[in-house]
Assembly symmetry: C2
Homo-oligomer: 233 residues x 2
DNA sequence: TTATCCTGGTCATCAGATGACCTGTTGACT
DNA sequence: AGTCAACAGGTCATCTGATGACCAGGATAA
């Protein structure tokens, strides 16, 4: 026998949904100010706390912005308001990290093909800069990790797809921790490996400069294989 | 002249951070029960509302679960707790949709290669079922759209990467609306196009059955090209 | 043993009060 | 006219006491 769920939604969720619908249906446009908490409280006939919690959850979703002393406003939003909720990396196990890495690989390989074709002169300069910094800072793990991250981010930017940049950044964050640890380890036990990383980055850069998508993809593929080996020892 | 921001963080954010740190530092393990709101209110020496808002924001992040009448618990989490916040699709413009589609293409092409290799017998059955439903329900746009979605989701599942499934689902959601609209349109104006979609799906299925990654990828690529054309008229 | 009731602990929500903060206005001073 | 302090009105931020809803587990009755 099937029963219909009577799940009574929590009050603030109902309110949040109602307001969200208004935004979706364009009854509330970006930039508009919502009524004050007191007002809404009366309109929806619920307490102020319920309204407040509803607004807070919408703010967490990025739909609205609450400004102390001013009011609550509908946000203007675009694809870079898409966010990925990643629990802290310390809570992941090896298998999770592997899954994440697999996805990064997909995105990164896709992005570099586009980047090689679409890259501008500016992008090249940025890449050069990152490359240079990384080489300079071989001993400063913090700085070289950041430059590494910047290198990859810049490639994503060159692909001219903002959403892709956002996703790669989010996906790479938990990996970045792992990578930095690995860098520290390598510097102590296996300096030539760092040298290899740099060569791979350089190869990637050259392929992008030549706008050779295929070569770039292969270079990136080799690079990721190296990194993967280093992480999953 | 540069000035340092004196941003004083809101109370509940400080509390939320404090508790999050405890979880990250493993002082609070998954399954543990947090102190009651009253208790925490005393411990942190802030009002109950601040505690409550902090807990709500952590719940939104997926780190904890608040159970009415029982208490608040640290969640066990894994990669499928990674969520992607997508504003409602109606708020996107054409360019945004194009970016999203580009990413979907990347993920989908990557996933199908893995799926073709890793697919189990069960996965094949599911795919058959989705395929069948889609064909049956040519006139029921709702049902056929769902079957379409199921078809792609099942492929992701076959790739044996839970995170990938999650991401693809989230990414495809805003596209699904567009696609359904398109389906309705096609049914009225261009029935053969629906036929073509079905053939493409079938081709994808066959390649997966043969575990031919390359062919599967090509079939999917053709399919996505078709869909893209249909969406961006 | 099993079903029912009771109780203590907890979250959900409300409403009043106070403080902090922002904007715009007014009026004095330069 | 331009600058600035002071003020007022509106709004969010937070605290607090009160009440209801909900759950788990123990006590009780059939």
């Amino acid at each position: 026998m099937q029963y219909k769920k009577i799940k009574q939604k929590k009050l603030y969720e109902q309110v949040a949904d109602a307001i969200e619908q208004q935004i979706i249906k364009k009854k509330l446009l970006p930039g508009d100010r919502l009524d004050s908490v007191e007002q809404l409280s009366k309109s929806y006939d619920v307490g102020r706390s319920a309204i407040r919690e509803a607004l807070m959850s919408l703010q967490a979703k990025g739909l609205i912005e609450i400004r102390h002393g001013e009011g609550t406003f509908v946000r203007h939003l675009s694809t870079d308001d898409i966010t990925i909720q990643m629990p802290p990396s310390s809570l992941f196990n090896k298998k999770d990290i592997k899954e994440i890495f697999e996805i990064r690989e997909l995105l990164e390989l896709g992005v570099i093909e586009k980047a090689a074709v679409r890259r501008s002169q500016d992008d090249l300069l940025c890449l050069q800069h990152a490359l240079h910094t990384m080489n300079e800072a071989l001993t400063d793990h913090q700085a070289s990790s950041e430059a590494d991250f910047l290198f990859h981010t810049t490639i994503a930017k060159a692909a001219d797809n903002q959403l892709l940049v956002t996703m790669l950044e989010h996906i790479s964050k938990p990996l970045a921790d792992q990578i930095q640890q690995t860098r520290v380890l390598l510097a102590a036990t296996n300096p030539p490996a760092l040298e290899q990383l740099h060569k791979e980055h350089a190869a990637i850069y050259e392929a992008i400069e030549k706008q050779d998508g295929k070569a770039a993809k292969e270079a990136m593929s080799r690079h990721l294989a190296t990194v993967e080996k280093m992480i999953f020892i």
